[in-house]
């Protein structure tokens, strides 16, 4: 009897989730920092602090992908 020694491949959705979580957390961190230092947000619509909500959205979506792709 032979045994299949090929390792199981990780799901692509897990990898998508991983990169979204990594980037989402970095951006959320930036957003929190900008919240404390609003003078740094000199761009148009900077008052919306897009890093904070977009970053947390990406992290949340990434977490769903990780759960889905495990």
């Amino acid at each position: 009897m032979t045994t299949d020694t090929t390792p199981k491949m990780v799901s692509i959705w897990f990898l998508v989730g991983l990169i979204l979580v990594i980037y989402g957390l970095i951006l959320t961190g930036c957003g929190v920092y900008y919240q404390a230092h609003p003078e740094l947000l000199t761009q148009k619509l900077g008052e919306l602090n897009p890093s904070l909500w977009w970053g947390s959205g990406m992290a949340g979506l990434g977490a769903i992908f990780i759960l889905f792709g495990r």
Binding site: T6, P7, I12, V16, Y23, I26, Y34, Q43, K44
Partner: protein
């Protein structure tokens, strides 16, 4: 040199993570890449979701994103035609009617089908022309990427070109098509994550979608109402040019025969998944104008508004001309703080690299199976072919970098791309269509029809380029007195298709067809229909194609 975007440490970190991540994927997948099927067809085990997103992502290169965002400033919502009528019907046709013949014949490439349906010389002709086209595309992709990053970030364009080319070469050499597909899907999400926000913030600044569209001239804000006469729209094309040239010849020529995208469907685990691949992709394709047209219209409005503080950069090759392709990077500079800038630049990099990886993985397969194994080494072992695929990947990367230097000679890159499609893909679609749906088509008809179609396209291209045609002749070819470059390309493709179709039919009628027994599984009338009796409605390709078609019609009516 002075630049517009400045990267902070966090932006560099985000870019560095991207490179580490995609090369890591290649290293990880190397252990799963042992046979030819693994390397060139990703093991044939992907779902329609995986193959579908990769199918779209391979098409979603830099030219798509930057070119058409800039194009929107010139053509307005007309650009949506390239995403809707110029893509969706062809994608659905591929899934519903052509994929069964491609997938079931277990070929590795589109030229592989030509070998089975016609003969070896037709296969090699197409393989050679596809290989040349792919390298040209690849070179243009690299050139544009380097030029953009040099213009907006001040990066040395030689360095950025070689670094991204090396990363792509690395992960495809390691993991083959599976690597390309995995990274393309990651890139798909990064493109949306990085660039969708540009459109959202732009539309927010404009005061909403209604305010954005309000005040635009009719030829910028409508799809069809200004196509009665070529003089009424900025593209200089009539509805017939859009429907026949773009919606039929160019679109079907690209989406149904271009191996770069179709290869992703070949990686599916079964026929149903393969058929669903382009249908799944069609829904995401229809969404892309949100980014491209949305951001382009925002840029158009900002440029038209005095005191907006928004300006395009001059073209580095022609400082007197504003470069529309910088619209998207300039919007990133307008709205994104540090951190998000890194994400936006990573999204652009991902877009460039996804298109590039598509070219390289298609090139290595066509070279290995349709030129090397077909002509140079017919007895090559599977192991040797995998080795050849890896070597070809590196050679292809080096050649495309060389091609990038040649691409600098051309000013209007998008028009040039359309011209390349016309030479190779437009006539090939006639060859495929007749081959699949008319059993009387002969090998001689297919081969000589294809050659005549390609020569027609090339001759018309040269005629326009070197002004060989009189004004009256230009009018008869394009049905327009002052056709734009885009219009010339659309009609050039049409004539190439017509000549190929007509010549193939005529030659087939006077030459001997293949025995019907050899055409089973390759021609519709000789192949039993796929049995879908036990598949639930929600799993049927026909059902989802019908939904996609309804969405397409609704979108066109909404922006009529």
């Amino acid at each position: 040199m002075e630049t517009t975007l400045h990267l902070a440490a966090v932006d560099w970190a985000i870019i560095a993570i991207y490179f580490v991540f995609i090369i890591g994927i290649g290293l990880y997948l190397r252990r799963f890449t042992k046979t030819g099927d693994d390397f060139f067809l990703a093991g044939r085990k992907n779902s329609s979701w995986v193959a579908g997103l990769a199918f779209l992502s391979a098409n979603l290169g830099a030219l798509e994103i930057l070119g058409w965002t800039g194009g929107t400033m010139k053509y307005g919502m007309f650009v949506s035609h390239f995403y809707w009528v110029g893509a969706i019907p062809a994608m659905l046709f591929l899934g519903l009617y052509m994929m069964p013949f491609y997938y079931s014949s277990k070929i590795h490439s589109i030229p592989g089908y030509l070998k089975l349906r016609y003969d070896e010389k037709t296969r090699v002709l197409n393989a050679l022309s596809f290989a040349v086209m792919t390298l040209l595309m690849s070179g243009i992709n690299l050139y544009l990427m380097a030029l953009v990053f040099r213009t907006i970030l001040g990066w040395d364009w030689h360095v950025s070109m070689w670094v991204s080319a090396a990363a792509i070469g690395c992960y495809i050499t390691l993991g083959g098509l599976m690597s390309a597909i995995f990274t393309e899907i990651v890139q798909f999400f990064l493109i949306w994550a990085g660039l969708f926000l540009v459109a959202v913030l732009g539309i927010t600044e404009m005061g909403g979608i209604g305010a954005l569209l309000n005040g635009l001239p009719a030829n910028m804000s409508h799809l069809w109402s200004t196509t009665g006469s070529a003089a009424d729209n900025s593209m200089g094309v009539t509805w017939a040019g859009i429907v026949v040239g773009l919606g039929f010849v160019l679109s079907f020529g690209y989406w149904t025969t271009d191996f770069l995208v179709v290869q992703r469907a070949f990686s599916s685990k079964d026929l149903r998944s393969a058929r669903l691949t382009p249908i799944t992709a069609s829904f995401f394709k229809m969404l892309l104008p949100i980014i491209v047209v949305g951001a382009g219209l925002v840029a158009y409005k900002l440029v038209s508004t005095a005191g907006s503080g928004f300006a395009l950069l001059p073209h580095p090759n022609n400082p007197n001309e504003l470069w529309n392709d910088t619209a998207l990077p300039m919007l990133i500079a307008r709205y994104f703080p540090a951190g998000l800038v890194g994400l936006g630049i990573t999204a652009l990099l991902a877009g460039f690299m996804a298109g590039q990886a598509g070219n390289v993985s298609a090139f290595n397969t066509v070279w290995t199976y349709d030129i090397y194994k077909a002509v140079l080494n017919r007895n090559a072992s599977d192991e040797h072919l995998v080795w050849m695929g890896r070597v070809t990947t590196i050679v292809g990367i080096v050649l495309s970098v060389g091609t990038a230097y040649l691409a600098m000679q051309f000013n209007t890159i998008m028009d040039y791309i359309q011209a390349i499609f016309s030479w190779v893909n437009a006539p090939l679609f006639a060859t495929m269509l007749l081959g699949m749906f008319w059993k009387r088509t002969t090998s001689a008809g297919g081969f000589w029809g294809l050659i005549l179609g390609m020569l027609t396209s090339f001759f018309i291209f040269l005629g326009f380029k070197f002004s060989w045609f009189s004004e009256g002749m230009v009018g008869r070819i394009t049905f327009s007195k002052n056709p734009s470059g885009m219009t010339q390309n659309l009609w050039q493709a049409c004539w190439a298709w017509i000549v190929c179709f007509g010549a193939t039919v005529a030659i087939s009628l006077v030459t001997k067809p293949k025995p019907e027994g050899e055409l089973v599984g390759l021609v519709k009338s000789l192949t039993p229909a796929a049995d879908t009796g036990d598949v639930p409605l929600l799993g049927r390709p026909g059902f989802w194609a019908a939904i996609a078609l309804v969405v397409l019609v609704v979108l066109n009516v909404m922006f009529w």
